[in-house]
Homo-oligomer: 175 residues x 2
Amino acid sequence: MLEVEAKAYLPEPERVMTSIIELGGREIYFTVQRDTYYRHPSRDFAVTDEALRIREEEGRSFITYKGPKLDLQTKSREELEVPLVDPQDLGMLLLRLGFEPVAVVEKRRRGYLVGTLEVTIDEVKGLGYFLEVEAKNCDDLEEGKERVLGLMDTLGLDRLERRSYLELLLERGDE
Amino acid sequence: MLEVEAKAYLPEPERVMTSIIELGGREIYFTVQRDTYYRHPSRDFAVTDEALRIREEEGRSFITYKGPKLDLQTKSREELEVPLVDPQDLGMLLLRLGFEPVAVVEKRRRGYLVGTLEVTIDEVKGLGYFLEVEAKNCDDLEEGKERVLGLMDTLGLDRLERRSYLELLLERGDE
């Protein structure tokens, strides 16, 4: 089974939120996430296509390792998420081991269900609004892509973005 | 304030436990600890005098970083201990980041209070019995050493050991 997803810039969030409701979509959650990404002391995660982050979300926290993507088509990768009691102290421990924070991604995330598609609207600090559409448990890539891109089209969104928020923030910092 | 401590091999644990009670000592705790020590992916902890371990103890668990010793006389060092929810999964995450387990130290630890001195008797898997005496909050090193070594002497223990259990286990493995 595949997960097919696409992300696009969202210049008019209010208009699109209204459209989603008009299409029969319903809001299923709202959350605030603060992700601190770390640099490895001796590996270049940008080269190895890995990531390490501490997420703080609504009083809970996790440390997450993401392995390299497993193929070129999808975003499939190992994701190992471990709950934490004390994210600040674990961050300090990572510093002592030579890890360094490279960027903090802060976002307000709103989740919707539109038919069988999951839609996420993120307001990312320093980057603006984005909309993501995801078709879960597809058995056909082309059919999944058609549905995902079809909804993007219906919502009038054409500036697709394949880079992660972390990549976008780091590239912005380089400018 | 100083913490003065010494450790010695304990060839006759039963006899010494009896002596401690005869000296007015009382048992204050018993615990079982399982410590997994990790090798850093790009630093030799043996050279930098650091350590990283995950401790599992009576259903609780911690990850602990120990910094280099701060002077030659005492064992003073930074110790950053962070509670964990899921030690196995965090161990797996360390593996993904290139850390490797180097040794597991398993011990049954019994703590006593003898006057103002803390006495610990450890039964360490693969190494045998050890006794540690510690004088906390000393304001005079010589006076602390005298009290600590005085009790060692009273208990008939003369094989002092400065190496950690981890060092002893690793050296034994090299033989």
